[in-house]
Amino acid sequence: MKCDLIVVGGGPGGSMAAKAASEAGLKVVMLEKRQEIGDPVRCAEGVSKRTLNRLVKLEPEWIASEVKGARLYAPDGTSIVMSEDKSGGEVGYVLERKVFDRGLAMLAAQAGATVLVKTRALGLLRKNGAISGVSAMRIGEPLEIEAPLIIGADGVESKVGRWAGIDTALKLQDIESCAQFLVHDASIDEEYTEFFLGNNIAPSGYAWSFPKGEKLANIGLGIQGSRSKPGEAVRLLHKFMKARFPNGRVVEMVVGGDPCSGPIESATTDGVMLVGDAAHQTDPLTGGGILNAMQAGVMAGEVAAKAISAGDMSRRGLVEYETRWREKIGKTIARSFQFKEFFVKLNDNDMNQLLGSLAKEDISKMDLAGMLRVLFRFNPKLLWSLKSLII
């Protein structure tokens, strides 16, 4: 089999890359090792409305629910509310990712991409030193696909970068260990996504409730890998459920790892571009990565088409992708990483103090920058190290 571009991984990043490259005229093959795209889910499914609507034409069945905003709880129970349009990347829609991921793969196929499921990339092929394709296993049979350019969209377990010489192995402090239940409970707030802070709830992370309608919600938590031990995420989630949703009925279980390393040094090398979780493009503070993966996918797909028509698949030929993703999402990721590095060191008293000072103000019309300025005004000592990011 021969093509212009191979996309490894059929998540949101891969599908958007395959779609963009096909629309730009490339012959694209997208490999997905699972037999069913999108399943099992490893996600809380929250995304911002505005950005998602800019990226694709939505199908109603992709959306489980819409929320008005976010409510944040300090360890002592004090809460603040932020409206949806001010809450950033993960608040707005709660998706049905099993349907959404498959829908995006369908868009890639409709744009002309060949989608191969139950097909796992095993390694890169090389000819005279240059990358010339991917060796794969397709429903138990070996398959070689030739192409001069590869996009690695293979998620948190990415190997494409490592095969090509980009070390994307995650250090324990750079990944959150997560567990989540889909819960039915009469006490679920259907209008707000909720975030619960506290070192007893989720050390160097947070717990969440993302409502999916009909009194169902994704209730989960993530803890920093360096503070995790075997089975800790699931254990803490059981404890949180008991304390907060004692009557909740669990109808589904999700676990996963979410990168939070900040921007990697390079997401490109000769013949290869990495997008999404494979390039650690998740927001390190919130863990949100769907929209970043999709945006990076579009950029990589477009740059792939240019590189193929220019005949230059070297790292230099792919530099436009590197520049564009850093500009569009990398800066925010870097900023969030600095906030995360600060956040993971806070004790419960600090968090109570910070949220307590916001609870006294009318923040309903404020965006994040405005809120940070208020926080700084009331807590200059605590926030001194973040001064340059806030003012």
Binding site: C178, K229, V254
Partner: protein
Amino acid sequence: MLTVNRYKCCYCGACVGVCPTCALELVETWLEVSAECKECGLCTKICPVGALEVNA
């Protein structure tokens, strides 16, 4: 030796992402451990369900 409790594993791939030697491979629901494993134990710590163990 690294052992995988396949009755516990939820095949999420977090362990694959942290393995410094690329010794793990998730084949849909089946986690494979290769001879590259150095028994460093990083993967056991990240596993949300506690399906991995390094035994002497």
